[in-house]
């Protein structure tokens, strides 16, 4: 058994300790916000926070997060509320297919925590590990700026 702390709740997983965290989130916990994109940590669709750091859950083995705090997009805001960046994404209509957007939100939210009012260059740098194929990047950058109270 691996003891996990996911979005503030304890979870005991009987999965093989080498199982990537992503499959436990999606198949044991029903948390679909982290999404499979490449399995190699190269696209960002599966990003979660582990002790506050942005981590690709598709190639993070379960054993490595034992005892650490994992936060998924579902745990960014309490109850059914939206994180300010989620609201900003809606305000900017910052997506097309939106498959990548939860991962982008995780990158952006981590930036906003360490730099609450980032400038454009900081935002672009923070999102550089995320890929978007639909071409909604400019809207996503504006959303992070908006959530940071900056001029979008």
């Amino acid at each position: 058994m691996t003891t996990l702390l996911i979005n503030g709740c304890r979870h005991e997983s009987g999965a093989d300790p080498d199982t990537p965290l992503l499959y436990v989130l999606r198949n044991e916990l029903g948390l679909m916000g982290a999404r499979f994109g490449c399995g190699l940590g190269l696209c960002g669709a599966c990003f979660v926070h582990v002790d506050g750091a942005v981590v690709a859950s598709c190639d993070t083995p379960l054993w490595s997060v034992e005892g650490k705090s994992v936060v998924t997009v579902e745990g960014l805001a309490p109850d059914d509320r939206l994180h300010p960046l989620q609201q900003a994404m809606l305000d900017e209509q910052a997506a097309q297919c939106a498959y990548c957007v939860t991962g982008v939100i995780m990158s952006g939210a981590a930036l906003l925590r360490r730099s609450p009012h980032p400038d454009r260059a900081e935002v672009v740098e923070a999102l550089e590990r995320n890929l978007c194929r639909c071409g909604a990047q400019n809207r996503m950058v504006r959303a992070v700026l908006r959530a940071g109270g900056g001029d979008a």
Binding site: L42, Q96, R133
Partner: protein
């Protein structure tokens, strides 16, 4: 708006109103169309149209997923046609539904229907009578055919406004929405072990290494592993793959010389135009000839999610399938054809996937899921492709090569235009050429053939020759396509088909011809363009970009223009490109005319996204392969545009002026590539004719001067 004499085409084909719209006792209005959400926001725009015709609140309209057993069959969601084909059909259906409810209320109240008012889903009579869609729902029969004489409205509350996307709240919070998120009771997971190379045949297999709880499915060279635990299935796939023995052969052409491959044939010749000197009605023009050859490589869809599907085998021998296919009806029929099933027993429901830019692996993975599901009857099976398979095995957009010759006469006008384009076909969708068109069907013990891709007919926008005929006023034109009729590389439709490359080649030539004529590229285009809506978008983009202004050394401005398919949206783009250590697109000013706009922000989003994606194709993308297999199968070997390289994109929308809607989804692809190419030429003083426009390609072009 005049009363329609006949039903819109999609409604005439599916005339029963209940196929489109159902009203519940709670007032909820379920709308089911045959077009599907691909990330383009189509269901939101269609909900706006339905709510307007029904005089309902948007919140009461529920857009339901397309379903082969329940809902209209509207073919494929492609070609930027959903607003122009589904839009009128849905509006007419909704107007009919509204009329039936008004008639029912008027009958109850013994009043004339013309005195009954509908607002926000509430129905009111002339003497204060009150009812609603919900209250009347049980008594209004929608299992009736649409009446072509029921008028649709000229305007409404929602069309023309920036209604936010209805599906985004789910998608930004992570609520299950994609087919990838589907978890049916007792569902299994499966992975397909694609051959290590094209044409490889499975010789030896050790199913025992899969381990306990894992089912190995094999049919000829189709190989899959399935089980209830997804991570265990992944580990089993690795073990089985390590022990499988395949017979491999060289089947692929030389990637370094696609020009020779494309020209070698055999070809189908496609005559697009031959007039003036080419049909003997005028004499040979004289002037300066601008001649050049342009090339593009194969390009991948590279959707951010690998393709995925769920299937379940039913006791009656049929199957049910959940798929993000663009054409669920065609997919169902292709599955039936591949397996010898009655098409009526294959039930396909659309379930959303990640961004779809054409015929990707959505249909292939659905058939994979069916093959596995038939081996474990009753168990729903989800198949998800790997990133590597998605980049290596999904159909590609074809490599192309074009020879252009333009004659500029002594007055600076174009006096002749000759264009030959060589390409593989741009459609191998399920059911094309009379074959299933499903990848795995070609590897079964009893394999289906998979002929080379075909092209849509010219009347439907063509494929290799899409946009090959310039929209300019030109004499002495000859435009010919040459489609390869044999190829080992699977190609199919990708956003704008051949249009992206043809516009790149044509508009590059227009700039070179302008230089010969000593004319400004904008003025040269306007001098050859009588299409007023084309002239307007060119002027709008140029004005937005302050065309003609001085730019720093190493920076260039370039222009690109086309009317998509010759029948769709008008789009002009100005690019600002800086070429130093790398090629950087700084800004794109786009102007587009799509006629009546249903959702302005939706159109902007499509143009912005199309421009950014076209920038990625143009600067970076090239499918790599050796003589056996595609080697560009990760984001490292097939890079797409990162956030830091995304240009700023400005979108100017031309006023609708009451013109019919044409689609927005593909309009920006060609003009963006052309504008970037022309801006790069302006920046570095040498023209790069081979896509992608990498720093290496620029150096090669400079060395080749």
């Amino acid at each position: 708006m005049p009363e329609p004499a006949v039903l819109p085409k999609d409604l005439a084909a599916n005339p029963v109103l209940a196929r489109w719209i159902r009203v519940g006792g709670d007032g909820r209005i379920g709308v089911r169309v045959g077009k599907v959400e691909l990330g383009q926001g189509i269901l939101t725009a269609l909900a706006q149209l339905a709510a307007d015709e029904l005089d309902a609140d948007l919140a009461d309209v529920r857009m339901l997923g397309a379903d082969t057993a329940d809902g209209p069959d509207e073919g494929v969601t492609a070609g930027s046609l959903s607003i122009s084909t589904c839009g009128p059909a849905l509006r007419a259906a909704a107007a009919n539904v509204r009329m039936l409810f008004v008639t029912a209320a008027a009958r109850d109240w013994h009043v004339d229907p013309s005195t009954v008012i509908v607002h926000s889903g509430r129905i009111a009579g002339p003497e204060g009578q009150r009812s609603s869609y919900g209250e009347l729902a049980a008594r209004v029969d929608l299992e009736v055919p649409a009446d072509a004489t029921v008028p649709v409205k000229a305007a409404g509350r929602f069309a023309g406004t920036d209604v936010p996307r209805l599906d985004l709240p789910d998608k930004i919070t992570g609520r299950p929405r994609y087919v990838h998120d589907l978890r049916l009771p007792g569902q299994w997971y499966a992975r397909v072990l694609r051959p290590p190379s094209r044409g490889a045949r499975l010789r030896e297999l050790d199913p025992a290494v899969a381990g306990e709880g894992i089912t190995v499915v094999r049919d000829g060279s189709f190989l899959a592993v399935a089980g209830p635990d997804e991570a265990a299935v992944l580990r089993a796939a690795d073990r089985v793959r390590a022990k499988a023995v395949w017979a491999e052969t060289d089947t692929l052409p030389d990637e370094a010389d696609l020009d020779a491959f494309l020209r070698a044939g055999p070809h189908e010749t496609i005559e697009v135009a031959a007039d003036g000197v080419n049909d003997g009605t005028s004499t040979e023009p004289t002037g300066t000839t601008v001649a050049a050859t342009y090339r593009r490589p194969f390009v991948a869809h590279a959707s951010i999610a690998p393709s995925c599907a769920v299937a379940r085998s039913l006791p009656d021998g049929g199957v049910e399938v959940w798929s993000h296919s663009q054409g669920i009806g065609n997919l169902g029929r292709a599955i039936a054809a591949a397996l010898g099933l009655d098409p009526g027993t294959v039930h396909v429901r659309h379930a959303e996937g990640a961004g779809c830019y054409g015929h990707n692996a959505a249909d292939d993975v659905a058939f994979d899921a069916v093959l596995v599901a038939r081996a474990v009857p009753g168990i729903p099976v989800q198949v998800l492709w790997s990133r590597q398979d998605e980049l290596a095995w999904a159909p590609f957009s074809s490599a192309m090569v074009a020879d252009v010759e333009a004659v500029v006469d002594a007055t600076g006008r174009l006096a002749a235009w000759s264009y030959d384009v060589y390409s593989q076909g741009h459609s191998s969708r399920p059911g094309y050429a009379g074959v299933p068109g499903l990848l795995a069907a070609t590897t079964l013990a009893d394999p289906a053939t998979y002929p080379a891709a075909v092209d849509p007919p010219i009347a439907n926008g063509a494929g290799s020759t899409r946009n090959a005929l310039p929209g300019y006023d030109l004499p002495n034109r000859r435009v010919t396509g040459h489609r390869l009729t044999e190829s080992p590389i699977r190609t199919s439709a990708m956003r704008s088909l051949g249009g992206y490359f043809n516009v790149f080649a044509i508009e590059s030539t227009m700039d070179e011809a302008a230089a010969v004529a000593g004319a400004d590229p904008l003025e040269f285009r306007l001098a050859h363009l009588s299409d007023e809506r084309g002239r307007r978008v060119l002027r709008m983009a140029a004005e937005a970009a302050s065309w003609g202004r001085a730019v720093p050394e190493g920076t260039g401005l370039g222009l690109g223009y086309a009317r998509y398919k010759g029948t769709g949206a008008w789009c002009a783009v100005v690019a600002e490109v800086a070429a130093e250590a790398d090629v950087r697109v700084r800004r794109l000013w786009t102007a587009v005319d799509v006629g009546r706009v249903v959702n302005p922000d939706g159109v902007r989003n499509q143009i912005e996204g199309g421009a950014v994606q076209a920038t990625s194709w143009t600067l970076l993308e090239r499918v790599r392969f050796d003589r056996r297999q595609v080697t560009s199968d990760t984001w490292e070997s097939y890079p797409i545009l990162p956030f830091s390289a995304v240009p700023e994109v400005l979108v100017e929308l031309a006023p609708g002026d009451g013109n019919p809607s044409v689609g927005a989804g593909e309009a920006a692809q060609g003009p963006t590539a052309a504008a970037i190419g022309n801006a790069l030429a302006a920046a570095v003083g040498v023209r790069v004719r081979d896509l992608p426009l990498t720093p290496e390609a620029v150096l090669q072009a400079i060395e080749g001067m």
